[in-house]
Symmetry: C2
Subunit: 413 residues, 2 copies
C-alpha cells in the first residue's frame, strides 16, 4: 500500500498559538484515496530540524506532504530547506511571477519585493499554482518518492490539494480502489448501537471495514470497502446498508456529509412546513443550528427565548398557574410553550426547551441536566424528559440535538 507522512512546519502551530485543522482534513482525504498515513509530525521554524525531518520521513514513506513555512518573511524556511535538500538553486519562476502579479492586481494591491520573491522557486521542482493566495506550491520527485510543499493557510492548501495534488498523486502511484459510505445515526449511544448491530458487524465481508465516529449527540458509522471496481464496492456496501436497516434503521437519519439540521431543513422544505421555536435552557443555540443552514428562512419563521420567568408569562404567554404549580422545568410548561409559540408565530410546527443547564439552578428533584423538550403540530404534541450532564455547554448542545431528533421522529409522515 502507498504510504504517506504529513509534515507541518511553524512555531505558531508547535507552540499551540493556532490549532492545526489541516492535518485532520488531509488525513481524511488521503485515507479516501487509499493511501496509508504513517505519521504526522509538527516541527518549528528551525533549519536543522526541518532537514532532519525531511530525511526521516523519506526513509519511511512514499509521499511527504508539507504545509507551512512558505510566507515571505525570514522565519519561513521551507523553501530554502527544500532547495538544499534536493540540492538545487532557487531562481525566479516567470510563470509564478505572472500569477502572483495578477493576484495582487486583481485585488487592487501593489506587488511588494517580499511578495515578488515568493515567485522564486527551486529549479528542480514543479510549480503548483496557488489560486487562493500568493505562495505557489512545489512538487519534487526523486527515486520514486514525492515531496509536496503547500502553504499552511487552510483554504489555499485545500484548493491546491483538491484541484491538483490529489489527482496527480493518483496518476503517479498505483492506488487501490476504495469506496466509503457514512451512515449517520442520532438518538442512541455508541455502545448501545454497537450492541444492536454486533451480529451484522461480525458478519461483514472481510473487504469491508467499519469505524464508529461518535460526536456530541450523534454517532456516525463509516463503512470502507477495498477492492478492484468502484461499482462492485458500491453494490457491496448497498447490500450491507439494507441489512443494517432492520436492526438500527430508526436511528439512521441520513448518509454522507449533511448534519441533522440540514436533513430536517430539506424535509421541512419538501413538505412545505414552517417551524417556530420557544427555547429557554438552550438559550439560542437551537435556533442557531437551524439558521446556520443557508436558505433556512424558507421554513424557519422565528423564535422566542423566554429566559426569565416573567418573560415566559408576559411575552410568550405561559399561564401563571402552570408555572406556579409545576415550575418552568416541567411537562405541563413545556407543552404550553410549544403550543403557544406555534400558535403565536402561525407555524405548522412549534418546538420548545426548558431545563437546568447548570451549574446553578438545581433543586432536590430537578438536578442539573434535567431538561424537558416538546414538539407540537396540529396532529399531536410530543414531550421528552432528558437527564444530561453537569456541563453547561454540553447540556445546551445535547438538548438542541435531542430536539432536532424529536422533530425528525414526530414530523407528519
Amino acid at each position: 500500500m502507498v504510504t504517506a507522512e504529513l509534515l507541518t512546519i511553524g512555531d505558531e502551530i508547535l507552540y499551540g498559538q493556532i490549532i492545526d485543522t489541516n492535518s485532520q482534513w488531509m488525513g481524511v482525504e488521503l485515507s479516501n484515496l487509499g493511501v496509508r498515513l504513517k505519521r504526522k509530525t509538527t516541527i518549528g521554524d528551525s533549519e536543522s530540524e526541518i532537514l532532519t525531518a525531511f530525511a526521516e520521513a523519506e526513509k519511511r514513506a512514499d509521499i511527504i506532504l508539507i504545509t507551512g513555512g512558505l510566507g515571505p518573511t525570514n522565519d519561513d524556511l521551507t523553501k530554502p530547506c527544500l532547495a538544499r535538500y534536493f540540492n538545487c538553486e532557487i531562481k525566479m519562476h516567470e510563470e509564478a511571477l505572472t500569477e502572483v502579479t495578477e493576484f495582487f492586481k486583481s485585488r487592487g494591491r501593489e506587488l511588494t519585493e517580499l511578495n515578488r520573491q515568493q515567485a522564486a522557486l527551486p529549479e528542480c521542482c514543479e510549480k503548483i499554482t496557488n489560486k487562493m493566495g500568493t505562495a505557489p506550491g512545489m512538487w519534487f520527485e526523486r527515486n520514486g518518492k514525492v515531496f509536496v510543499s503547500m502553504p499552511g493557510v487552510p483554504h489555499e492548501m485545500k484548493r491546491m490539494m483538491t484541484d491538483i495534488i490529489l489527482p496527480k498523486l493518483q496518476q503517479t502511484f498505483k492506488m487501490p480502489v476504495i469506496y466509503h459510505r457514512v451512515i449517520r445515526t442520532v438518538g442512541i449511544g455508541e455502545s448501545f448501537l454497537a450492541d444492536k448491530i454486533s451480529a451484522w458487524e461480525n458478519a461483514l465481508p472481510s473487504h469491508l471495514k467499519l469505524a464508529y465516529l461518535p460526536s456530541l449527540g450523534e454517532v456516525k458509522l463509516r463503512v470502507t470497502a477495498f477492492g478492484d471496481s468502484t461499482e462492485q464496492l458500491e453494490a457491496d456496501v448497498n447490500e450491507q446498508v439494507q441489512k443494517i436497516l432492520p436492526l438500527a434503521g430508526e436511528y439512521i437519519y441520513g448518509y454522507g456529509n449533511d448534519p441533522l439540521e440540514v436533513v430536517i431543513g430539506q424535509t421541512l422544505r419538501e413538505k412545505k412546513l414552517t417551524l417556530s421555536i420557544a427555547e429557554s435552557c438552550t438559550g439560542g443555540y437551537l435556533s442557531h443550528l437551524i439558521t446556520s443552514v443557508p436558505g433556512s428562512s424558507d421554513y424557519f419563521l422565528g423564535s422566542m427565548i423566554p429566559y426569565a420567568y416573567e418573560i415566559k408569562m408576559r411575552q410568550l404567554g405561559v399561564k401563571p398557574e402552570t408555572l406556579e404549580k409545576y415550575g418552568a422545568v416541567s411537562e405541563p410548561t413545556i407543552i404550553e410553550m410549544a403550543n403557544i409559540v406555534r400558535a403565536k408565530f402561525s407555524t405548522d410546527i412549534g418546538v420548545a426547551t426548558s431545563g437546568i443547564a447548570g451549574p446553578g439552578g438545581a433543586t432536590p428533584d430537578k438536578p442539573v441536566g434535567t431538561v424537558w423538550i416538546a414538539y407540537s403540530d396540529k396532529y399531536h404534541t410530543v414531550t421528552k424528559k432528558l437527564q444530561l450532564s453537569k456541563d453547561r455547554l454540553i447540556n445546551i448542545k445535547l438538548s438542541s440535538a435531542a430536539v432536532l431528533n424529536l422533530i425528525r421522529q414526530s414530523l407528519p409522515k
Copy 2:
C-alpha cells in the same frame, strides 16, 4: 532550556476521524511553563511504530508526553509498549484498582473485567490518578528523562496535567521564570492594531516578547517575559501595559482568559442592568454567546428572533411603514427593533441585528454581508452598519462579536 515532545497515539487521530485538540492545549501549557517544545508526532496503533517513536523522542527531548492508546481494547497498545520499552512487568496496581472500582461504583455501573485490567500497570512506573475516567496515567523516569502517558480524552488529560503532571515537571526540572499576560482587544484588525502599537512594540525591552493571536472578531496580544523573579517580571509587564493604553486602550476589553461575553456579563451584573435581544440575521448565535456564560440569567431576560418579515411586524412590532419604506436591513428598522425589544421585555438595554448573512438574499444596494446592529438604553440609541464577508457562518459570528463590542462601548458609564 528544558525540551519536550508530544506523542499522540491512535489510528483515529492519524486518519483524521477525530481532531486533535489536546496537543494545542498542551503546547500552550508547556510554553507557559518555560519548556521548549521541539516536536509533535502522531502515529497509529502499531507496536513497532510506537517503540521507534519512543526511542527517537528520547534522543531529542527531556520530557516525552504521550496521549492516547490507553483504552481497554486490544488495539490500545501504549501500556504494553511502555512496559517493553522500560523493560518491566505489568502487574495489578492495588491502589489503581481501588480507584477504578470506586469510579464505577459512584456512577452505579459494574466493573467489567476489561476495565479491571486498566488498573494493571508496568511495575517501573508511578501511577497518576485519573479523577475523570478509568485509565490511570503513568510516569516513568530514566537517565534524567521523563515519559508520561495520559488518556487521550481531553477532559481527563487536562485534569491530570493541571493537577499533577505540570507541578511535578516543575519540581523535576529546573525551569526558567516566565510570566505571561494576555491583552484582549476587539473592534480592530490585526494589521491596524500592529500599526498603532508598532513604536511601543519596537521599544519593548529584550526580555519581553510579543505575539499576536487573532481569532474571529478579536485579536489577543500575548506578552511573555523571561527572567529571574516573577515579581520583577510582573512589574515589567505592568509598566508596558500602562504604555500601551494611550495607543490602543479603547480596543482593550480585558486581560487573561475571559472572553467578551463574560466581561460584559460581569459589567451588567455589577451595574444591575438587564438585557434583551432582537436578533434576525444572527439567528440565535448572539443569545447563545450571552447564555453560554453560567449565571447569565442574572442579567439576560430573553430574546426574540423575528426571522421572517411577518414576525418582525406581528410579533416584535416593527411598523409596517418602516419595513416597507426602508426594508428589514436598514437603520430605521434596526432602531425600532432595539427600542421595541427593550420596551416589550422591560429591560435596561435592548440590542438588535438585521442583515444579509448569505449566500442568498442580496440586493444591488445590499450585498451579502451587509448588517445593521443597534444598542438602545434610556439615554441613547446607537447604530452601526457592518460590511462583512461572503461566508454565512463568519457573518453570523462577526455580527455577534460586533454587538458585544457595541454593548461594551455604549453602556452607561
